[in-house]
Amino acid sequence: MARDRSDNIFVFPRWTWVLRPGFAAAVAGGLLYAGLIVWLGFSPKTTDVGYAPEQPVPYSHALHVGQLGIDCRYCHNTVEQAAHAAVPPTQTCMNCHATVRKESEKLIPVRASYASGLPVGWIRVHDLPDYVYFDHSAHVRRGIGCVSCHGRIDSMDVVYQFAPLSMGWCLDCHRNPERHLRPVEFVFQLDWVPEEDQLVLGRRLREAGGINPPVDCNTCHR
């Protein structure tokens, strides 16, 4: 038992002590790195923003809204009355395209749908979980601009997801709406910028409209 311990690798020589801080630092750093990867890498900010699926028809908002200046409500005409900003029926497209670009093969699916009565299958970009009940009318009628959640659609050739649409992101705005409130007449004007400081304006509008967004669970979950 009382044997010479020089051969015993489990009895560390003194000089190894200098390695201890390094070792500790390495371990701590590793953990921190792993944490950051999970925290940032898996957050909706990273994963969902920028999602831009290819649509059956290469419809360009940049062209129709940005250049031709068509109002959002020309197509999404239920946005002020209903929860859903309904995607327009094929009919709406054909209002113009019956005459404009009537031969374009990009429009074949649209014409086909118009003829057959079967819908065009658009790919959903802004997809909330099914247990979330979002109401467009409640937001636009109170002065939240389209741009706040959808970004500058009028400059998008292919629509992509602009905001994380995560619960935390919703809550940020529900807690301080003044950052996004604007006069209702400018809700659909994507390039509108306030003359004064947004916060000042926002507070005033909030005051005037008595806008206090609820943050109760059942505001969105039913």
Partner: protein, 1017 residues
């Protein structure tokens, strides 16, 4: 209206323009008879599959890969007024037993998802019965027949309508010799019109009408008394004394919804001319019996005797000559005390009383009631009589008897059966199922390929009422329209369309038929406008049958009475067996409706089946106990059924409900419960004398949502002690004496608030439930089921105490202290609807570790399904036990077609989460957003939860407690207002209004235990 089959998919709770289209779904719709057994647990393999899904869901969060790609499928041409995701409402009607009940059906993106009452309709007044509401589920029943079937040579062939018509054209020719039509009870003028045309065009043809549950007793009785059959319409709101002899105007009556409203009005203690008093004589508890101030339990056969004795007594007191045969017609027991009291009361309130008799009773009883109402001047004031559309048709029993005779004689070549299920529910002695086999060309139009279809040559899929045009008459005769909300899912046709097909080969659309009828019945200058108006209202205004002033023929009544020989009094070895239509599956037609199967019977609280009801003492004397299986024999036939021991039944009287034991109902209804029809004969259709009960030494569990296990003495005593405080009741006199009487009933020290008081701004939602109005009819339970996507769990799960209804109606029997469980002879029955009461200091909120249930600014106790991890701590800590848990994914085996019923506004819960009443938060949010959009306050009564909306007696009131002028605030200020378990200081937001009884001066009801219904035969 486009057929939705191809456009609907799994994302059924989203709006149509967002539905993902899946070919599997379209496939599933066409799939033949998808297997869907509610009453069995999912097979393990299915569960594994589920788990894979569960796990993949779980990891979706971690790996952060996007959820499956979703497609948006907008209309190609959107209809003018259609806003995707915004529901529309259409007025239509649901006919039951030949009486049409007006309904307002919610259609969500073209899918009818919920039926509510039509406020315009005289029989509905905005409310709807449980059964009528459940018809929506029937529409999406995956077991509905999907095609024309030809049965020949023991083979089944799938045929088309054209092939059938071709075949029919060959069979039905010339004078229509050998052609017979058997229709189920119907008040449809269109069908009547077609019938007359058919009989005119084909004079040799014959038309019969049969339905197991009918009101022919009343027809014949009044025919005797008045010379012609009439409808009796009581106006209970005007009544002061109501005497029900085996009658159940509050539930069993076709116009029960309307009558309940009237009854509730008459029970208002603040009614200027005082509260009405209710006497009930019956064999076993009916819902009306539950509200009786004086109740007498006698065998059904003895009722007529008592009625005769009463009539004799009354006429004597009026100094009128008593017709022969009345005085001694009874022979049965006649407890003077009860009858004397009743006679006094009726005489004291001449012209303000009503004597009602139920459909079970034979004509004499109805005639006697007519006599009483006449001599007491009630006729014309409280009871009005209305002419019938078809006064001359023979009674249903006579009709089916004649038809059977003709079939037996071989003179029927082609028999067309419009709906109904005679092979199952015709009187046993006719052996109708066998007879059908002898008809060379029997055709059955039915929603299901049921017992009758299987005995016929042709089966034709019937269009569901929500899929087809039609019409009918309300109890008071109002012409009620029925319009489709969706294309027939399986290409079915309606009875009127088939009837039309018998006339001319070219198919006529129901729409035209109904239009013609309306044009004929109510001609108008501008018909288009009139027609649109009628469609909008769901009825043709001013078509109610005028009240008649018939002449009483005492002589005829006395003759009938003399002809009657007194029935034998039942004894231990010769019981009286009383049959009744089931409170849920009715005559068996709703056997495949999961909502109704899982709905607890109002009185027994039994789901998924029926049982033989015996009173405790009778059971003891027969030596049978709860859940013993017994053989019930009468007239040579015998059936096996488990026993349910229940107070309030007459001695030596057994109650058994019809409609169960179906063999071809579908995946849900097959082999559930016991079929009682074999005991039912033409001679004794309802009250069967000399029945015997023999224990078989087996036991069978009853899927009961209350008293889940036989109650022991300790529990029994404690329950009785607690009832008085949970369901508070006092006599009207006691209440008027001391309005604070109900406040005196809470015994607890002053309640100290541990936390600092919350601030109450804006809307603060609350509810008041008036136990004095509640009749326990279950309409609210089904409404909640339909509105909130509550899953069905099946028989086995109910037995394991895992029922899911958010709203339950607690039923208590209040027995006198110190009576042992097996000695209870008579007990007062009281009801108390219980759902989440949204406590201010909610115990559930404290204990949830993940904050999945929280208090909202407007005072709701919100349950967040997507946050819940399922510790079930909240349920444990809930003193009302109103929280429900998804022990499995009860949706797993839900047929895709059935998913079309789900309400898109409510999250569909999956396995492992808790759920409970939300005060219909989706309705609250909808109104809140709409009001906010228009910058206006929410009006009182603008929001009404599903339960309150459909309550026939308006017993449930919902509103803003912060608004002192709101109805709910007013009610909570009422002297009768109290909270259950207030002593826990949990501050429930749902409070109750105490129940009042109004016994005649002699008997008094103290708060402790109801004295009423003490007297017993």
């Amino acid at each position: 209206m486009p057929s939705l089959i191809n456009e609907t998919g799994p994302m059924y709770w989203r709006s149509l323009d967002e539905l993902a289209r899946t070919p599997e779904f379209a496939e599933a719709v066409r799939r033949e008879f998808p297997n869907d057994e509610w009453d069995r647990l999912p097979a393990a393999t299915r569960r594994q599959f589920l788990q894979v899904m569960g796990a993949s869901l779980a990891f979706a969060g971690l790996t952060a890969c996007r959820w499956p790609k979703e497609e948006i499928v907008p209309f190609a041409h959107r209809p003018e007024d259609r806003v995707p995701g915004v529901p529309q409402h259409f007025a239509t009607s649901i006919e039951l037993g030949g009486v049409a009940l007006g309904a307002l059906v919610t259609s969500y993106d073209g899918r009818p998802i919920k039926a509510e009452g039509n406020p315009e309709h005289p029989d509905s007044l905005g409310a709807l019965s449980a059964v009528a509401q459940a018809s929506v589920l029937g529409l999406y029943d995956p077991d509905r027949s999907r095609q024309v079937i030809l049965r020949a040579g023991g083979q089944e062939y799938a045929k088309s309508w054209d092939e059938f018509e071709a075949d029919l054209a060959g069979q039905v020719t010339g004078s229509g010799d050998g052609l017979a039509v058997l229709s189920e009870a119907s008040s449809s003028p269109s069908l009547g019109r077609l019938r007359d045309r058919l009989l005119a065009a084909r004079p040799a043809a014959s038309w019969y009408e049969y339905e197991a549950v009918s009101f022919d007793g009343e027809r014949d009785g009044l025919r005797t008394a008045f010379g012609r059959p009439l409808h009796v319409l009581p106006h209970l709101d005007r009544a002061h004394v109501v005497a029900c002899f085996d009658a159940d105007p509050l539930f069993e009556h076709p116009a029960a919804v309307r009558l309940s409203r009237g009854f509730a009005a008459s029970r208002d203690p603040h009614r200027p001319d005082g509260m009405s008093r209710l006497y009930v004589v019956e064999a076993g508890y009916s819902l009306t019996g539950g509200r009786a101030d004086h109740r007498l339990a006698v065998p059904a056969s003895q009722v007529v005797g008592l009625l005769a004795a009463l009539a004799a007594a009354v006429m004597e007191r009026l100094g009128m000559p008593v017709p022969a045969g009345l005085g001694d017609a009874g022979g049965g027991p006649s407890p003077e005390s009860f009858l004397a009291k009743l006679a006094d009361d009726l005489l004291a309130h001449r012209g303000a009383g009503a004597v009602l008799v139920g459909p079970r009773q034979d004509p004499l009883a109805h005639a006697l009631a007519a006599v009483l109402n006449a001599v007491l001047d009630n006729a014309g004031s409280v009871v009005s009589y209305h002419e019938l559309a078809d006064p001359d048709r023979p009674s249903h029993l006579a009709a089916i008897g004649e038809l059977s005779a003709r079939i037996a004689a071989g003179s029927v070549k082609t028999l067309v059966i419009l709906g109904g299920n005679p092979a199952y529910d015709a009187p046993a002695d006719l052996r109708f199922a066998e007879l059908l086999g002898r008809v060379p060309n029997a055709v059955h139009l039915g929603l299901y390929d049921d017992e009758t279809s299987r005995a016929c040559r042709w089966h034709l899929p019937q269009a569901h009422p929500l899929e087809s045009w039609g019409d009918g008459r309300a109890w008071d005769g109002t012409l009620t329209l029925q319009q489709p909300l969706i294309e027939p899912l399986y290409g079915g046709r309606s009875p009127i369309e088939l009837a039309a097909a018998l006339l001319d080969p070219v198919p006529v659309r129901g729409w035209e038929i109904v239009r013609d009828t309306v044009r004929a019945v109510a001609p108008a200058a501008d018909f288009e406008l009139h027609w649109r108006r009628c469609l909008h209202d769901g009825l043709v205004a001013g078509t109610a049958a005028p009240a008649a002033a018939p002449q009483l023929d005492l002589e005829a009544v006395s003759q009938l009475a003399l002809a009657q020989e007194p029935p034998p009094a039942p004894s231990a070895n010769a019981l009286e067996l009383v049959l009744a239509p089931d409170s849920k599956v009715y005559d068996g037609r709703f056997a495949n409706n999961g909502w109704l199967q899982e709905l607890p019977d109002a009185v027994t609280k039994i789901t998924w089946g029926n049982a033989l009801l015996l009173s405790p003492t009778t059971a003891r004397e027969l030596g049978v106990a709860q859940e013993d299986v017994v053989a019930v024999s009468a007239g040579g036939a015998s059936v096996e059924v488990p026993v349910d021991v229940l107070p309030g039944l007459a001695r030596f009287t057994a109650l058994l409900s019809l409609g169960y034991g179906r063999t071809a109902a579908g995946g849900v209804g097959n082999d559930i419960g016991t079929d009682a029809y074999p005991l039912r004969t033409t001679a004794a259709p309802w009250v069967i004398p000399r029945a015997t009960v023999r224990p078989l030494g087996r036991r069978q569990k009853l899927a009961c949502t209350q008293d889940h296990h036989a109650i022991d003495t300790i529990g029994f005593g404690e329950r009785n002690r607690r009832v008085a405080n949970l369901v508070r009741e006092a006599s009207l006199d006691a209440y008027l004496e001391d309005p604070e009487i109900f406040r005196h009933m809470d015994h607890h020290p002053p309640l100290e608030q541990l936390w600092k008081e919350g601030t109450y701004e804006g809307e603060q939602w609350g509810m008041a439930i008036d136990l004095n109005a509640c009749t326990g009819c279950n309409a609210c339970v089904v409404a909640c089921h339909a509105e909130n996507n509550i899953p069905l769990v099946g028989r086995e799960q109910v037995i394991r105490q895992r029922e899911m209804q958010w709203l339950r109606i607690d039923r208590y029997f209040r027995t006198p202290q110190g009576v042992a469980p097996d000695e209870v002879e008579d007990a007062a029955m009281v009801f108390q609807p219980v759902a989440c009461v949204h406590c201010e200091n909610a115990p559930c909120e404290q204990v949830c570790p993940v904050a999945a249930t929280q208090h909202t600014a407007d005072g709701l106790n919100a349950m967040v399904y997507n946050r819940c991890v399922g510790t079930r701590y909240c349920s444990n800590n809930c003193p009302y036990k109103v929280r429900r848990f998804n022990f499995f994914n009860y949706r797993k085996r839900m047929a895709d077609i059935a998913k079309m019923q789900l309400n898109p506004e409510v999250t569909v819960r999956s396995r492992g989460v808790m759920e409970k009443c939300t005060y219909c938060v989706q309705r609250i949010e909808k109104v809140r957003i709409a009001a906010g959009n228009d910058r206006r306050p929410i009006r009182d009564g603008e929001i009404s939860p599903a339960c309150a909306q459909t309550c026939p007696t308006r017993a449930i009131t919902f509103g803003n407690l912060n608004d002192p002028s709101s109805e709910v605030s007013r009610l909570r200020g009422d002297h009768r207002s109290y909270a259950t378990l207030e002593e826990l200081n949990i501050r429930p937001r749902t409070r109750y209004l105490a129940r009042l009884s109004n016994p005649a001066a002699a008997a008094h009801v103290d708060a402790g235990g109801g004295d009423h219904g003490k007297e017993t035969a």
